[in-house]
């Protein structure tokens, strides 16, 4: 019975349901791995941008300008071109430039500059009085970063992470060009190119569920970390 309903409602998807499940797994895999790595890197570079900025706690013109420029360059390259340009490097780093594995590296390179900017922006909102107070307590730069900048920006970081995660999901639809697969790619290949509406709907719903979970997690985290 249920099978019939599904077949009726999803005439095309039901035929390639294993491909669809595979795509969901691929999206989750790419999201988890690339997301985690970009989170770490973005946090790192965002902090570097912040502290090396003129007037920052470790003001360093050279590092700041270099990183600032590199991020601008990376953000200027259309993602699809970046994927292509990265292929040799991707192979070097992860062993293959193809498939879901090969898609993760370009995803990381694609999203990290964006996330770094978001983090820089999030941390810039800190009340300078708090930094002073940390300095007065004899905090080292590392301690200032951890105990003041990061700790006090958690709500802003959560918001930045939520926005970036959703963007990452968006980018993961593009890595189909190296066979990365994923839900977005499924939607494009079946829904868009083969005009199978049910594939589009199912994909968008799957993505919506992921995005909604991200947003919900973000919100509940925000509630727990906002104290005014």
């Amino acid at each position: 019975m249920l099978d019939q309903v599904i077949n009726q409602l999803l005439p095309n998807v039901s035929k390639v349901s294993d491909v669809f499940y595979g795509a969901v797994l691929q999206t989750l895999q790419m999201f988890a791995i690339a997301g985690f790595i970009s989170f770490v890197l973005g946090l790192f570079f965002g902090i570097v941008l912040l502290v090396c900025k003129p007037n920052g706690i470790l003001a360093n013109k050279v590092v700041y300008n270099l990183l600032d420029k590199v991020i601008n360059i990376l953000r200027s390259i259309p993602f699809i071109i970046m994927i292509a340009a990265l292929i040799p490097l991707t192979r070097l780093v992860v062993g293959t430039a193809i498939g879901t594995t090969g898609a993760i590296f370009p995803l990381v390179v694609g999203i990290t500059p964006f996330f770094s900017r978001q983090i820089e922006s999030a941390l810039s909102g800190i009340d300078p009085g708090l930094v002073e107070s940390g300095k007065a307590m004899g905090m080292s730069a590392n301690e200032l970063i951890i105990h003041v900048y990061l700790k006090e920006s958690i709500p802003a970081i959560v918001r930045a992470t939520t926005i970036t995660s959703v963007n990452l999901i968006g980018l993961s639809a593009i890595v189909g060009v190296v066979g990365g697969g994923g839900i977005g790619n499924f939607a494009i290949m079946y829904g868009y190119q083969r005009n199978q509406m049910d594939a589009t709907y199912v994909s968008v719903i799957a993505l919506l569920i992921i995005v909604s979970i991200i947003e919900l997690l973000g919100k509940s985290f925000l509630r727990k970390t906002t104290y005014y």
């Binding site: 002073e132 107070s133 007065a136 307590m137 004899g138 105990h147 700790k151 104290y227």
Partner: protein, 361 residues
């Protein structure tokens, strides 16, 4: 400069730059704080007090000059040395600067992060501090859930957490009720006495200075006008500003206003005068009023007074209506004059008054 000086500011200037033009906030400031001093800094709002105190631990960079604390030149300290130095200097900020995302407990724990205490000892220390500032029930509250005074108390606890050698207080009790203020001042005094901790305290409350400071400096528009030990500065202010400050906080000044407004309270009968007596060098053993009352048959009718013991000397004075025979009044004035009391006739209803009164002004 003194051998004993523990905190020393030498020709310190500090300017803030606004576009191209500079606002000079500290001008050639020289200051000496000895080890164990409780050093008060007073001055008008905007005089540069906060800026000055922030130069001591190097939170504010100097435009020129030098600050030395415990023989270390602050602006030369970097990296680990600077951090080590700052850990020995507790600071209470005028704006508290508590970490909004940490509870009261968390804020204090943060100050203890490198204290080397075991977890258990840390908790114990936090408890002690919370009790000290009487805020134990707010242990798990966030700053946004605290009242102004509670925030200030957390800031105090935090500054004291690491048993600092120097404590910099920027209006440490401005948001506190008198009772809490008193108990905190008492505690600071005890700390100072027992551990020899040096305290620099900015305050608007003259009461605070009189209560715990042994030295005081008056700063105006970035310039230190006067500094010295509290009693001598307060009993014998050299600068008009110091005088004004003391007067405004004294009960005696209220009489001026009554006189200005010609209040019925200060309407004199024929022969009476209103005197303001200011003690400069009076010991507790002199019974001046009793003396003159008996000797010269005058009535001394106190309408305002403000006398307190500061550094074991009497400080302050009183305003009184003097009535009696003209001769008695004249003799009283002369007598007080001899006794080193500053006498000021602020209203005179004697039919023809003698020049002697003017002399005593």
């Amino acid at each position: 400069m003194s051998e004993d000086s523990f905190i020393q500011m030498k020709q310190v200037t500090k300017s803030f730059y606004k576009d191209t033009h500079a606002i000079e906030v500290l001008k050639d400031v020289n200051l000496e704080v000895e080890k164990g001093d409780i050093f008060g800094i007073i001055g008008y709002s905007g005089a540069g007090k906060s800026t000055l105190i922030r130069c001591i631990n190097g939170i504010e960079s100097l435009t020129s000059g030098e600050v030395t604390v415990d023989k270390q030149i602050v602006s030369n300290l970097t990296g680990k040395e600077l951090r080590q130095f700052r850990r020995q200097v507790g600071m209470i900020f005028q704006q508290f600067n508590l970490m909004p995302s940490r509870t009261v407990h968390g804020n204090i724990a943060l100050a203890l992060r490198n204290s080397g205490l075991s977890k258990q000892h840390k908790e114990q220390r936090i408890m002690e501090l919370l009790e000290l500032v009487n805020i134990r029930d707010k242990r798990d509250a966030y700053p946004s859930q605290l009242s102004g005074g509670q925030k200030q108390r957390v800031a105090i606890a935090r500054a004291l957490a690491n048993h600092p050698k120097v404590l910099l207080c920027d209006e440490a009790t401005s948001a506190l009720d008198p009772q809490t203020t008193k108990s905190i001042l008492q505690f600071l005094k005890d700390l100072n006495r027992k551990l020899g901790i040096t305290i620099v305290i900015i305050t608007h409350e003259m009461g605070v200075v009189k209560e715990i400071c042994n030295k005081v400096a008056i700063i105006d528009q970035g310039v230190i006008l006067e500094q010295g030990d509290v009693f001598s500065v307060f009993s014998n202010p050299r600068e008009p500003l110091t005088k004004t400050f003391l007067e405004t906080t004294s009960n005696l000044s209220k009489v001026d206003e009554l006189i200005r407004m010609n209040s019925p309270l200060v309407q004199l009968e024929e022969g009476q005068i209103i005197l303001k007596l200011t003690y400069t060098n009076t010991t507790v053993s002199e019974a001046l009023i009793s003396e003159v009352s008996r000797r010269f048959y005058v009535n001394v009718n106190i309408i305002a007074s403000d006398i307190e013991i500061v550094n074991d000397m009497l400080l302050g004075g009183l305003v009184a209506v003097l009535s009696g025979e003209q001769a008695g009044i004249d003799q009283t004035l002369t007598y007080l004059h001899e006794k080193n009391v500053v006498v000021e006739v602020i209203r005179d209803a004697r039919s023809s008054h003698q020049p002697i009164a003017a002399e005593c002004l």
